[in-house]
Amino acid sequence: MLDYLVSAFSPLNIVLALLGVAAGTVIGSIPGLTATMAVAVLVPITFSMAPESALILLGAIYTGAIYGGAYAAILLNTPGTPSAIGTTFDGYPMAKRGDGDLAVSIACLSSVAGGLVGALALLLLAPPLAEAALAFGPVEYFWLAIFGLSLIAALSTGDFLKGMIGAAFGLLLATIGISETSAEVRFTFGSNTLLGGIEIVSALIGLYCIPVLINLVATPDRHLDAPAETTGFRLPEAFAVMLRNKFNLVRSSVIGTLVGALPGAGGSIAGLVAYSEARRTGRDAPPYGEGNPGGIVATESANNATVGGGFIPTLVLGIPGTPPDAVILGALLVQGVRTGPSLFSDGSNIVYTFIFGLFLATILMLPVGLLIGRFAYGAISRAPKAALVPVVAFMTVIGAFAIRNSLADVGIMIILGVVGWLATRRGFSVSPIVLGLILGRIAEQGFVQSWTIGSAIGNVWAQFFGRPLSMVIIALTLLSFLYPFMPQLRVYLARRNGTAPAKETAPRAPGRAIGLELVALGVFAAIALLVIVQSTTLNPEAAVFPRTVAIGMLALCALAVALTLRTGRATLPGEMQGMARRATVPVAMLVAVALIPVLGFMVGGLLMAAVLMLAAQHERLSAAGWAALAAGVGLTVALFTVGFRSALSVPLPTGALF
């Protein structure tokens, strides 16, 4: 073992790990640039390296990218990678109130801790954990997805019905395109761009980031509340938080490792499951979802634990645990390394050198991550809005493009952003929609496969409810769904016993609010109806899931309409201030997408940035001020374009100009 340690810590490997972590962190922090892409771009470079050095470099990039996703999540409410979705729930509220630096430090400490737990499991428990992961069949994946959905109950406090409707909408969005289980084309309305379905990362960016941008330009207020003075890393405070959350940290890291070891689950689910558990057991103030640092601890430790966890099936079974693992697996095969159980049992030095390299990279992430995190916080909290809005908007465009090299994905991102903004104004939060979108495919595949297997063995019920592992997940799901209602239930019971004062009836909302509420519910009901009608033309395998969801959604809408009419409760209309400026954001972005094929990516991007600069600037500015602003924004756009083209080999359209 000691030999491996020594060879892992060779000067070359230390340099590679350091570079890898730093590059990964930067890449992960840009919404749209995922760990998968970072690793895929670098694979050819590793061909000329020794296999273990190549693995260490790739593993370090992967680790860094998963952590880097936290920055945008905390500072811009936009998960840089899907693994960081849960980080937005508490990270952004913390940043809003001026604790962004603390949140970034907590994210770094949690990521390091989670990464170490994952790597330790990979070192000590890989073969047995891989065997255990095989016990997870289609039914268990189905129930795991439903468990993930149970977070809706917690995320939509105040309006559970709206959360459920939003989730159903997300589940339906996930069924657009060619179905993976039945090969049937669904809900594309004849459009070729929708054939491949809605790309999840670009949808995430749209739903989370575009509404933030739209709201940013409306007022001259600062983006984040700045703390009274710059307090640096706030490490003592961060350590105190970690200590308070030690059980949370360990539990989340273990959840991350286990979920990571399941091929077909991945970092986003690990983070969500860990968040859900942390929230259920968390007692301290402020509540989860309003800026409790425990939420960051849970998600960030869990998602970095999936790195080590995901390598377990990759190395032991030769089956990638997460998408970046799939790329790394390919690189290993080219290097002539055969994965499989023998890799561990032969005492082959590659594996152990690599695992120690992963430890090294994870530990290096502490200084690297803190430093880059501080820089990111400084840049985003101090940047004037007129610089922040165009640069972030451009990053969302280039990031959404780079995922599949597709401008159509950028268009879908912007449109979903507008949908998300409208939905939020009517009291439908975007998180349930995102959960539905992410978990929809896993849920549907698991459901159809279980149904097929259940029919073949002649007992569908036993297949869905009779397996011990499923029963455990079902129990946890019920607990998670019901838990947020415990306080209400207690009040209700107390009132029945006559020990509590009668409920005060809330005053009826103004007629206009009720009208808007009914319109919003009507739109969702219409979508459900459309799906039900369309699914009559599909084959039964392709139709069963969307139809079931749509029928449920229709029922929920009907229930919500009845409740609104009876109680008169409705979400009040939002601020109307700065509507013209707000509208500029999506319009300028969509126009840029239309112009890019003609004029080129950089020119289209610069035009968009110029318009957004004007829209975001409220005070009068001197000519010199404008010039400085324009130069800074223009340079950033140009650097990003050139960097994506040459360093990342992204085929950005050049059009007629550039």
Partner: protein
């Protein structure tokens, strides 16, 4: 009008430039219409270093996944036709998909210039499965119609069509459970969620002692698995699998089509490349642009469409 003129001008310029230069005249973008880690990605990665060695230019692998390949193929012809962009193609996908509905491309739209290997279909069971031979599986399926479940990658795919063809040949009825990709299908088999797997010889190579292949759909036994019989030896006439190759946009001139095909052939002829492929469980074929490839495509089209018809996956 102005735009079309510009576009036409650009196309003719590019065309002229392309004719002046040989392939490859710079880095070549190799688009895989699937995600990373699958057979298409791995074989492209195998080719990558050989391409660089032989022709001195980078082969840049990128992914355009979605719709079981449809997203990539529907955009193939909008890529530059100067040899700077090539795309992976798969059979039966490009034959069966367009017949399942509007997937944004037709089989004829795709200019395949080379088919360089295939992954032969194989029935894979776990090492401790009660099925020792193909006959054991057939006997079980005869005694319990539809109760024998087999995992496989996707619907209307090589795995699925193999199941349909074999069920007809053997006179049995089995249940095919579709998973997303070979990785997920192998996981289900290893975890004994299903009784067997319609996989490829590559699964046997990757999983080693953990699995047993009952038969492979090749003309002769695979050199890496001398003990595994072919379906033909056992009396079932099937040679099938997923064939993979390289396509170029329609706008690519004839010379460059030829040159791309020659480049791929040259890599295919390299003994070191061949060894890597065979060790990985792949089987090489060498069908460069020309009449032989056309005849092969015509034959396969007929075969796959007939199987897809009886699988009930066509619209």
């Amino acid at each position: 009008m102005f735009r079309t003129t510009i576009a036409a001008l650009a196309v003719s310029l590019i065309g002229a430039a392309a004719q002046a230069q040989d392939f490859p005249s710079g880095a070549v973008d190799y688009v895989i219409p699937f995600g990373p880690g699958g057979e298409s990605d791995i074989t492209a990665r195998f080719q990558q270093p050989f391409f660089k060695d032989k022709f001195g230019e980078d082969l840049v692998v990128s992914y355009k996944p979605g719709g079981g390949g449809a997203v990539g193929w529907s955009q193939l012809n909008s890529m530059p036709g100067d040899g700077s962009a090539i795309m992976g193609v798969n059979l039966p996908h490009i034959i069966v998909k367009p017949k399942q509905g509007n997937v944004g491309f037709q089989t004829e739209d795709i200019v395949t210039v080379h088919m360089f290997h295939y992954t032969p279909d194989a029935i894979v069971v776990t090492a401790d499965s009660p099925y020792q031979t193909l006959d054991d599986l057939i006997a079980d399926a005869k005694a319990n119609p539809r109760a024998v479940t087999l995992s496989g990658s996707g619907k209307g795919t090589a795995n699925h069509l193999a199941q349909v063809i074999f069920d007809e040949l053997a006179g049995i009825e089995t249940t095919y459970v579709s998973f997303q990709g070979t990785g997920a299908s192998t996981t289900a088999n290893l975890g004994e969620q299903v009784k067997a797997q319609w996989g490829y010889t590559t699964v046997g190579a990757a999983q080693g002692d953990k699995v047993r292949m009952l038969a492979v759909a090749m003309e002769e036994r695979h050199p890496a698995f001398p003990d595994v019989p072919t379906f033909r030896e056992l009396g079932y006439d099937m040679v099938s699998g997923a064939y993979r190759g390289v396509a170029v946009p329609k706008s690519t001139p004839e010379e460059i089509r030829q040159q791309v095909a020659e480049a791929i052939s040259e890599i295919n002829a390299d003994p070191e490349f061949q060894k890597k492929m065979l060790d990985g469980g792949f089987a090489l074929v060498n069908l460069p642009y020309g009449p032989e490839l056309d005849a092969f495509m015509a034959e396969k089209t007929e075969e796959y469409l007939a199987a897809a018809e009886s699988a009930g996956v066509l619209n």
